[in-house]
C-alpha cells in the first residue's frame, strides 16, 4: 500500500499547518447551512477535508498511468506512477534479469522519471512480499477521520484555534465560531432595546427571550440569529453574561454589585514564586486543611457530600464573600468568565439573598449582610448545602449558646499590627486557631493598604506579626494556621508561601503539633532544608 500523509502521526503532529484550502473548506461548510460550529466540530471537519483533498489528489495522480507494484510486470514504453516517490510519473525504457539469490527470479526495469535525465531501476515480477504491493486488506486498514480526530484532534484543534483567533474573518462567542460575513446585524438600536428590556424586567434573561423582543429582520437561521445577538452583546460593555456552563443569561452590568464586576482588592493575590520542596508533612497537611482558593495543586477529595463546612478567613469575612476552592466549587454552578447569579438561602431563617459566583477570580459574593447579622467571626465555620436547584445554595453556621470568649483581637498601634486578648460574645462554632477579632476596621484597612502598596516581602510581614502573636501565649508559640490567619489581615497570601518562609529561616523553630517559636537574633540565617526533613 502507499502511504497517505494524513494517516501518519508525523504529519499531524509536526508538519500540519492550517492553510487557505482548509479555510475555504470551513467557509463552504458555514455557507451550506449558516450554522455556528464548535471548535471541536470545525476540527473534525478540517480533518475530513484534508483527507478528502489527499484522496482526490491520489486518484488524480494515479489516473496518469499504471500504479507501480513490485510484483507486476511492465512493458517497454509503459507509463508508471510511483506512489512512494511522491506520485512521480515514469516511462519504462529497459528491462533485465534481476540477480539476488535471496529473492529468486525477478526482473529489473529501467525507468526514466518525468523531469529527470538519469534513469533509475526498479524491481518487477518480484515474488518476495513488498509493502508497495496493494492488497485489499491494507486499504481497509486506513484510519477513519473519526479515528484520526481521536488521535490527533487536540493538536489540530490548538493550531486551528490559533489560526482562527488571528483572523478577522471569523468571530467566536464562547466555544462557537461563525464567519464574520454570516453575522446578522445587531445594531446600536437593537442593543438599546435589549438594555431597556433588561432594565424593565429587573432580572437576567436568556438570549432566546431577548431575541423575541428585537426585530432583527433577517432570513438567517435561528442559531445564527442567537449567535449574532450573543456576540453583539458580549462586545458591548453594558451587558454581562450571568449564566453558567451551557446556559447563557444576559444582565446589565450596572445592575450588578461592584464587587462582582471588579474583584475586591482584599481578595487579590499576586502569585510569587517560592520553594515548596522544604515543606514538611504537617505543614502540607495544614495547607490542605486551610484549602485557600489561591493555593494550586491540591487534589480534590474523593467524595463530595451534600454539605461542606468552610472556615472563614479575614479577607472573605471583610468583603462578604466565600472562596471558590476544591471543596466548595461543586456546590456552585460551573462557568468560565461569567458572573453567575445565584440565590443563597439562609437555613436558619429561610430568607433568600442574591449571590454572585465570580468564576474567574474564585469567589462568591453576597454574604456581607448575612455575616454581620449572625456575627460570624473570622475563623467561624460556614456551612454550604445543596438544594435541588443548581442556582440555589443553602448557607448556615453552626449555632451554639452565646458565650463571651477570650479572642485575639487585632488593632493598629504606631503603624504596626498588634494583638491583645479580649472577651467577645460568640454564638457559633469556630476554629480556635483561625479566629481573630478586630478593634478598629478603618485603621486596619489603612495599614493593609500601606502594606500592599509597599510590597513588603512576606518574610518581613511575618517577622512583625509573629512576635505580636507569640506574646499572647505563655510558651511564646504560634500555630502556623494562626499565623496564616493573622497575616491575611494586612496582606493577602495563601498558606504555601508563609509556610515556605517558616521552614526556610532559622529564626522560626518548629516545636511540634504545628506550633512554632521565633528568635529575632537568628533573623538573617537560612536553614539547611535537609535538617528539617
Amino acid at each position: 500500500m502507499f502511504q497517505r500523509k494524513t494517516q501518519s502521526e508525523a504529519f499531524w503532529q509536526e508538519d500540519f499547518a492550517v492553510d487557505d484550502d482548509d479555510l475555504n473548506h470551513l467557509y463552504n461548510l458555514f455557507l451550506e447551512d449558516e450554522t455556528p460550529r464548535t471548535i471541536q466540530e470545525l476540527t473534525l471537519a478540517l480533518i475530513q477535508g484534508r483527507c478528502a483533498r489527499e484522496e482526490a489528489t491520489i486518484q488524480r495522480e494515479l489516473a496518469r498511468g499504471t500504479v507501480y507494484q513490485p510484483r507486476d510486470s511492465y512493458s517497454l514504453g509503459e507509463q508508471i506512477v510511483f506512489p512512494a516517490l511522491d506520485f512521480a510519473l515514469g516511462t519504462v525504457v529497459g528491462e533485465r534479469e534481476g540477480h539476488n539469490p535471496e529473492y529468486g527470479e525477478f526482473k529489473v526495469i529501467r525507468v526514466r522519471l518525468e523531469g529527470q535525465d538519469s534513469e533509475r531501476e526498479f524491481a518487477a515480477q518480484l515474488q518476495q512480499p513488498h509493502r508497495l504491493n496493494l492488497t485489499p486488506e491494507a486499504e481497509n486498514h486506513l484510519l477513519s477521520t473519526e479515528e484520526l480526530y481521536q488521535r490527533y484532534g487536540s493538536t489540530v484543534q490548538q493550531r486551528l484555534l490559533a489560526y482562527l483567533s488571528a483572523r478577522e474573518e471569523f468571530v467566536n462567542f464562547g466555544d462557537l465560531w461563525l464567519p464574520q460575513i454570516a453575522l446578522v446585524e445587531v445594531h446600536i438600536g437593537h442593543r438599546n432595546i435589549a438594555e431597556a428590556v433588561l432594565d424593565v424586567n429587573g432580572h437576567p434573561m436568556s438570549p432566546e427571550a431577548l431575541l423575541q423582543e428585537l426585530d432583527l429582520s433577517t432570513d438567517a437561521s435561528p442559531s445564527t440569529q442567537l449567535f449574532s445577538l450573543n456576540y453583539a452583546l458580549s462586545c458591548d460593555d453594558r451587558f454581562d453574561d450571568v449564566g453558567y456552563e451551557g446556559q447563557i443569561l444576559w444582565y446589565l452590568r450596572r445592575l450588578e454589585p461592584p464587587e462582582v464586576v471588579y474583584p475586591p482588592r482584599r481578595l487579590l493575590y499576586t502569585p510569587q514564586p517560592y520553594d515548596r520542596s522544604g515543606l514538611i508533612e504537617d505543614l502540607l497537611q495544614l495547607e490542605r486543611e486551610i484549602d485557600d482558593e489561591a493555593t494550586a495543586l491540591i487534589a480534590p477529595p474523593a467524595l463530595i457530600g451534600d454539605s461542606v463546612i468552610v472556615t472563614l478567613n479575614y479577607p472573605h469575612r471583610r468583603v462578604g464573600t466565600l472562596p471558590l476552592m476544591v471543596r466548595t466549587r461543586p456546590f456552585f454552578p460551573r462557568g468560565s468568565t461569567q458572573h453567575t447569579r445565584i440565590t443563597f438561602v439562609d437555613r436558619s431563617t429561610g430568607k433568600e439573598m442574591p449571590g454572585w459566583v465570580v468564576h474567574q477570580y474564585n469567589y462568591v459574593y453576597g454574604l456581607e449582610e448575612w455575616y454581620k447579622a449572625h456575627e460570624i467571626p473570622v475563623g467561624g465555620y460556614v456551612k454550604l448545602e445543596r438544594t435541588g436547584d443548581p442556582l440555589v445554595v443553602g448557607v448556615d453556621f453552626l449555632p451554639r449558646r452565646m458565650r463571651r470568649e477570650w479572642v485575639r483581637v487585632a488593632s493598629v498601634e504606631d503603624g504596626r499590627l498588634v494583638f491583645k486578648m479580649q472577651k467577645m460574645p460568640i454564638s457559633c462554632e469556630y476554629d480556635e486557631l483561625m479566629i481573630v477579632g478586630e478593634a478598629d476596621a478603618d485603621s486596619v484597612d489603612e495599614l493593609w493598604v500601606r502594606t500592599e502598596e509597599e510590597g513588603k516581602p512576606i518574610f518581613d510581614v511575618m517577622c512583625e506579626v509573629f512576635p505580636e502573636l507569640a506574646k499572647l501565649s505563655p510558651q511564646g508559640t504560634v500555630h502556623a494556621k494562626t499565623l496564616y490567619s493573622a497575616i491575611n489581615i494586612v496582606r493577602r497570601c495563601p498558606p504555601g508561601p508563609i509556610f515556605a518562609e517558616l521552614t526556610r529561616h532559622s529564626c522560626f523553630q518548629s516545636v511540634g503539633g504545628g506550633y512554632w517559636t521565633y528568635d529575632e537574633s537568628l533573623r538573617g540565617e537560612e536553614r539547611r532544608l535537609s535538617v528539617m526533613r
Partner: protein, 148 residues
C-alpha cells in the same frame, strides 16, 4: 612512501584490501566463511556475489551492492553471536570492520565496541609485526596530524 610512525591506542586501523591481494589470499573466500548459517544457504558459494540487485524495502528501487558484504552488514552482524565471548580477539576486530563498512577505528574505539580486553592489548595484537587478516593502521593525514 610516508614516514613510519609507531601506532598508539588512538591510531586508526582498518582492513587493508591490498594486503589480501599481496598475500595472494582471497578476501571473498574469507568473507563467505564469516556468513551466518542462514546466509550460507542463500549464498552457497562466494562466486558471482560481487554485484547483486538489492531491492529497497520502501521504494522497490534496485541498487547494486556486494552480496557478501551486504549480507554480513545487514543480517549476520545483527545476530547476537556475531561477536560473543568465544570469538577470538582478531576475529572480533575483523568482524567489527565488516559490520561498520570498514570505517577506521582506534584500539580505544574497538575496545568500547567489543567490550573486552584493554585498548593496550588490542593495540599490541593488531600493531605487531604479524598482520592479522589485513588489519593495519590507516595511512591518513589524520593519523599523521595527530602525531604532530
Amino acid at each position: 612512501m610516508g614516514k613510519w610512525i609507531k601506532p598508539d591506542v588512538n591510531t586508526k586501523f582498518h582492513i587493508d584490501f591490498d594486503w589480501w591481494e599481496k598475500q595472494g589470499r582471497s578476501l571473498r573466500v574469507f568473507l563467505h566463511s564469516q556468513l551466518c548459517p542462514q546466509c550460507r544457504t542463500v549464498y552457497t558459494t562466494y562466486r558471482d556475489t560481487e554485484l547483486i540487485d538489492w531491492v529497497d524495502p520502501e521504494t522497490a528501487e534496485v541498487h547494486q551492492v556486494d552480496g557478501l558484504w551486504h549480507a554480513l552488514r545487514t543480517h549476520c552482524s545483527q545476530l547476537p553471536d556475531y561477536i560473543d565471548e568465544r570469538t577470538p580477539l582478531t576475529s572480533a576486530i575483523f568482524r567489527v570492520f565488516l559490520a561498520n563498512n570498514n570505517t577506521p577505528l582506534s584500539p580505544v574505539e574497538l575496545h568500547e565496541i567489543i567490550g573486552k580486553r584493554s585498548p593496550e592489548i588490542i593495540l599490541r595484537t593488531i600493531a605487531g609485526k604479524q598482520v592479522y587478516k589485513g588489519i593495519k593502521p590507516v595511512a591518513t593525514n589524520k593519523n599523521e596530524d595527530r602525531k604532530k
